[in-house]
Amino acid sequence: MLLTTGILGAILTANVATGTTAFRAYTASLNATAHKSKSIPAFARKYGLRCSACHTAWPELNAFGQAFRDNGYQLGNDRDSPIFKDASYLPIALRITPQWHEESTTNQTVDAVPGDSSVKVARRLTTHGFDLSGMDFWTAGTLYKNISFVLLFSSDPFASFHFESAFIRFDNLANSPWLNVKFGKFELDNMISEKRFLFLSNNGGVYQSYHFVPVGDNTGFGIGDNQLGVELAGHNKNSYTRYSASILSSSDGTPGLPTGNSYDAFFTFSQGFQAGALGVERIGAYWYLGQQSSLYRTSGGAPIAGSGVDNKSFYRVGLSGDLYAGPIEFMPFYMHGRDDPYLGTSTPGNQALPTGAIGPQWNAEFLETHEYLNSRFVLLQRAEIVRMSQQALPGTPTSLGDIDAYSFGGRWSPFMFSRAGLAVHAEYSLTRTVGNVPISGDGVGLPPLNPTGSVWSSSLLFAFDFAF
């Protein structure tokens, strides 16, 4: 729901408005209390393995789990087909996270006197209380030998559901692990997966880099959003070498053909190697080439969904790593992004660009570390920055839209069996956004009164994250 109205609304609204707009295309179900889970107790039940066999700390995959997933959710012992399982076995898993959290955001534009909108001031807003996350209802597995599927039905905390993932995959075509075709809605093959990561708070539960769009830019895309399309992927036998090439609809995963008739492309490649006692190290590169319609046909002045034309392009490119030093995992990430000037200034395709408008560019980096004290206890932290290197319009302050984000926390599981999972989760996250709303959605959703002012948004979370 949020996704469909959000994206469509953003695109349509932005095209109708003139000049700069403070509205930002809200990519993905970014409200971090909605779920992005991908750990499946059903697999553990099917194969008799503990969750920790495939997950460093669920839901993050370890090398063995990655190979299992790459192989089409098959262990390859000729026992994967559903006929080998008890007829009452259902490949279904559920996950939800009851929690207590506190959100606090500075520099929020509010009415000086409640009820009187004539005078506005900047205030810090803080709320806290007991809450629910969204829920994931997940089924995945094999339909047949070398035909696998996923259906992930996700809700926000108000039980409003959407299909986060739904695809079929033809695995090991021509009996080769190098040819696998996935078709449907799926997560992009990001080495550092936002769907299977370990942060849950509003401000910590997103990678800023994966959703960042400059101020005034109406590009409705995030590399962390699940996309609709077809992916050709391959890997060697132990999944140390991996590649993928996808063609996706330029709709950022929104079903119903709401945008135009354009397609994006995404390429990834990664290589792992053994570093002795340190572990398996992986480095990868990715490149997303996207398009977005800058103009919609209208009827009676109202834009017609699906009629997008006048496509403008954008790209995201960068490197990522998954490096181990014994029990410590380092995940460095770098991205360079650029949007077309039309997208960067939210200018409809049939109008002239504002004077001096150029394509905005930015660099984003983060370093995330996990320390696995044992298979049930992990400490987390992440530091992330986004820096505009080129603003779209001259005269824009150079730091408008810049983000600093820092999170740390821990997850502890009282048991690690193969039927269900429970993690006690504690996390603190802090973000600073210059002149804009935080990506988490905390606050009132309006930019600060002073466009160069920093908006600090923090989340403190204590949660019981369970899956069955």
Partner: protein, 268 residues
């Protein structure tokens, strides 16, 4: 940027606080065992993991130091390579996965850890791997000799005359823990328990699958006998193989000349 530096500092502090006796992955070998293995094999390595009751065949009990896939004679301990290969390759038609993505050092350390569950490793040395003579060429005579051995050694009593695992004794077979067990069905499987090459098949019946009804025939074969049997067994499988090509050629010209394998059959 400040935040990045703070992040690195925290990581460094966390790293220095970790005390591990050995440089290892994700918390030490015992932690690796609990992470990957203990769900089936049990924290005590006795095959009594919480999932063991729901698995067939049952997970290996390391306390007995009896292993199926070895290169050493029946009753002797396997070599480190045997154990390493089993972990890497997994066991087909069982729940033992092929642990390919694990780092080499992890697998070697897990092999050493597995040995700590049985006192036999302290007093006994691993057996001497059997010597495998070079494989002879596949010929009609070679396959016919293998067929005669299949009859004479009474493999068909468990594996059935066509190797379909339906021999007269198949239904009563139990393994060494009294669990029902089925003999290998050559017609249904492209891979063997301990690998998929001719040499793997050779080792299976020349060392026996300890812990199962499959005995060692090492005392009963001489010269190239074992290779003849390997080539004949390959003709029982579905895959296109050089052995099958030779055999099909022979069968097409000698239709009906072979006595069927079984209680009355003399082989040829």
């Amino acid at each position: 940027m400040r935040l990045v530096y703070i992040g690195l500092l925290v990581s460094a502090v966390a790293a220095s606080s970790t005390t591990q006796a050995q440089p290892s992955i994700l918390g030490g070998t015992r932690e690796d065992f609990r992470r990957y293995c203990a769900g089936c094999h049990g924290n005590a390595g006795d095959g009594q993991g919480e999932n063991a009751d729901y698995i067939d065949p049952k997970p290996r009990d390391f306390t007995l130091a009896t292993f199926k896939c070895r290169s050493t004679p029946s009753g002797s301990l396997p070599t480190d390579d045997d154990l390493y290969n089993t972990v890497r390759r997994g066991l087909v038609n069982s729940n033992m996965p092929a642990w390919r993505p694990l780092a080499d050092v992890q697998v070697h350390q897990l092999v050493e850890y597995i040995k700590t569950f049985s006192p036999r490793w302290k007093t006994e040395k691993p057996g001497t791997p059997i010597s495998i003579p070079p494989e002879p060429a596949v010929t009609t005579d070679d396959i016919l000799a293998g067929r005669a051995l299949f009859q004479k050694m009474e493999c068909w009593k468990c594996h059935g005359p066509e190797g379909r695992g339906n021999g007269p004794s198949a239904s009563t077979l139990t393994d060494s823990k009294d669990q029902p067990i089925k003999p290998f069905n050559f017609a249904a499987s492209s891979r063997f328990k301990c690998g998929s090459t001719n040499e793997d098949l050779y080792k299976i019946f020349m060392t026996g699958l300890d812990g199962t009804p499959m005995p060692s025939f090492a005392d009963n074969f001489k010269g190239d006998d074992a290779w003849h049997l390997v080539h004949f067994l390959r003709t029982l499988q579905q895959e296109e193989r050089p052995e099958k090509v030779v055999w099909q050629q022979y069968l097409s010209t000698h239709q009906g000349q072979l006595k069927p394998i079984g209680p009355d059959g003399g082989g040829q």
